[in-house]
């Protein structure tokens, strides 16, 4: 029987040839992921050697490997400033991008991300509340109060999304609309807090609304690193089910995927990743949106590749943005949130204008 051949295509390939072609494609995808990993390492090194103090690239890299090669003040710069700063950039980029990738799939919406669905805004509000009210809890160090409160609010906002998503009959559109409502509500509340707050509190609030890596500590690095290490394997275990969800909710369910549970677990991972990141560095926009889209353009939506590639793309963009934030105006440290937004907006526009092409 004759199937219509594609225009210009080779005459009917055999099953073995198609399999071989497919395996080459998979090989190419693995190579792309490996390439992204290398690019990440390079960007991390670039971020590490960029900075205002008079250290050469060789000194910095040498100091990371053997701290004894540096004078104590130099070692302090490398180990207490550069390294945690560069590491938190990688981790935040990875975490937000992975969160964005999972959100986009489970909400079936390419514009979903922790930033566009209000998780970051909720965290900002939580931070603002802690800063302005100056509350403290017993047993909790004062400088952890702000991130903790930010985390609580971010987690709460995801649980609210969760509640909507699991309500019977609520479509994913409802969830997205609720997320947008959250953005506006929390942004308004943050503005209100700024309006009533003292001069000193206002400065701290500005840090939050712009997003900055400059307060990163080793404690932050460890916590976020552990969260990422804990969450990523579960994401990868769900990769096959996430891919099948892209074929439609009914179809995935008929293939035996409990979509409600998949969504619940994914949102749980998203809330951990996004809330922890935002708690430490403030609102950094667009990474959660742009990272997964870059990965999708490079590799398609087989989540075995999409998820790791999203992690790497997020880390890569964030490292580059971090390096750029130190280099754009020499001697001035720009809040990295500003730089990522400058990188992110054109990509965002590109994606929006590309969408109607789909029939």
């Amino acid at each position: 029987m004759h199937a219509q051949p594609r225009a210009g295509a080779q005459p009917a390939a055999t099953a073995e040839e198609v399999l071989a072609q497919y395996r080459r494609l998979v090989g190419r995808r693995i190579a792309i992921v490996a390439g992204l990993a290398l690019a990440c390492i390079a960007a991390f090194a670039l971020d590490l050697v960029t900075g205002p103090s008079a250290l050469t690239a060789m000194q910095v890299l040498g100091g990371v490997i053997s701290p004894d090669s540096l004078t104590p003040p130099q070692a302090a710069i490398v180990w207490q400033v550069r390294l945690p700063y560069a590491l938190i950039a990688v981790l935040v980029g990875a975490a937000l991008s992975l969160a964005g990738a999972e959100m986009q799939t489970i909400l079936n919406n390419p514009l979903a991300s922790p930033f566009t669905l209000g998780v970051s805004s909720a965290a900002s509000f939580g931070a603002a509340l802690a800063i302005v009210s100056g509350i403290s809890l017993p047993f909790i160090p004062v400088d952890w109060m702000v991130p903790l409160n930010a985390f609580a609010f971010a987690f709460g906002s995801v649980l609210l999304l969760q509640l909507m998503a699991s309500r019977r009959g609520a479509g994913v559109e409802t969830v997205v609309l609720l997320g947008i409502a959250l953005v506006f509500a929390f942004n308004a509340l943050v503005a209100l807090m700024q309006f009533v707050s003292s001069q000193e509190a206002l400065q701290q609030l500005v840090f939050w609304s712009m997003g900055s890596l400059s307060r990163a500590t080793w404690g932050n690095v460890w916590v976020l690193g552990l969260v990422l290490l804990l969450v990523t394997p579960f994401s990868m275990l769900a990769a096959g089910r996430l891919t099948s969800l892209r074929l439609g909710e009914d179809r995935a369910r008929s293939f035996g995927v409990d979509v409600g549970r998949l969504r619940f677990m994914a949102l749980l991972r998203v809330s951990l990743l996004a809330a922890t990141s935002v708690a430490f560095v403030g609102t950094i926009g667009f990474i959660g949106l742009v990272g997964p889209h870059m990965a999708r353009l490079l590799l398609g939506e087989d989540h075995r590749f999409l998820l790791p590639a999203s992690v790497l793309c997020g880390a890569l963009i964030m490292s580059l943005a971090s390096a750029a934030s130190k280099a754009i105006v020499p001697g001035v440290l720009m809040p990295v949130g500003i730089v990522t937004a400058i990188v992110g907006v054109p990509v965002f526009l590109f994606l929006i204008f590309r969408r109607p092409e789909r029939s």
Binding site: A12, P110, R168, R251, F255
Partner: protein, 272 residues
């Protein structure tokens, strides 16, 4: 494709009720027994409840009553348990998905265990390619889902369901977007697979001519209730067509077997 042992199960649906929160669509429905290796067609006007019934049989929707496959009651089983036995092909395939045809089939196979089988990636890829070959779309294997024509998408959607080799295959309008050649090709394929594997097939069709030619039995659904059932020649009669579809039609029995259905006009109020 390797031969699978022919099974002797049958599907029995009785006292089935299902619907949506605000609307009961199907109440206390009994269907004739579907035997292994048979192809049955579910026909009826728009909004009769065909898709709703299929979704209930697939376990995608709350239902009460009984759906027995062999000795096993399906209602109340988890999605994963359902998916070991039953596969449902929905009416549509979503747009804007960056997956290739072959990847989508592998995803369908790997989503959950089928029967006793949970496949490795390698085995799933081989099975997927074999199914594409059988459906006749091997040349589309590496094409993106988003670059396909409407009919090609429907063939891919069918291939995803066939790949799982279920004991019960539920197809919701599998040929509505296909050209003449592919309509017949799909009907022949589904018919042959049912016979080879002892699979039970229930498909929603709007083309009565094709339904009559390729089905062992017809279920005509109207407003959520069975209006006519039996062998094609028994179920598709001028009276049933007038009652269910509101059309004046003649049904001729051809000398070569099969039915010839000629629809002349819609029934006017006074003719009813």
């Amino acid at each position: 494709m390797e031969a699978t042992a022919v099974r002797e199960d049958s599907l029995q649906v009785s006292h089935l009720s299902t619907g949506y929160s605000d609307r009961k669509v199907i109440q206390d429905l009994d269907l004739p027994v579907f035997r292994a290796g048979e192809v049955h067609s579910l026909v009826g006007p728009n909004a009769a409840g065909k898709s709703t019934l299929m979704r209930a049989l697939a376990g995608l929707q709350k239902a009460t009553g009984s759906v027995r496959l062999g000795g096993q009651e399906l209602i109340g089983l988890s999605l994963a348990e359902h998916a070991r036995r039953v596969t449902y092909m929905p009416q549509t395939l979503p747009q804007g998905v960056a997956l290739s045809v072959l990847e989508s089939l592998v995803a369908a196979l790997r989503a959950s265990a089928i029967g006793e089988r949970s496949e490795s990636h390698d085995a799933a890829e081989r099975r997927a390619v074999a199914v594409l070959e059988r459906v006749g779309i091997l040349h589309l294997a590496l094409e993106g889902l988003d670059h396909l024509s409407g009919g090609q998408r429907q063939l891919v959607s069918l291939a995803q369901a066939l790949a799982r080799e279920p004991r019960v295959l539920l197809l919701d309008e599998p040929i509505s977007a296909l050209d003449l050649h592919h309509q017949l090709r799909v009907m022949r394929l589904v018919h042959d697979l049912a016979r080879e594997r002892g699979m039970i097939v229930l498909m929603v069709l709007h083309d009565l001519q094709i339904a009559a030619r390729w089905s062992d039995g017809i279920v005509m659904l109207s407003r959520g209730a069975v209006s006519a059932t039996g062998k094609p020649a028994e179920a598709i009669t001028p009276e049933a067509l007038a009652r269910v579809y509101g059309v004046q039609a003649r049904v001729e029995h051809c000398s070569r077997g099969g039915l010839q259905i000629m629809v002349d006009d819609v029934v006017t109020a006074d003719a009813m």
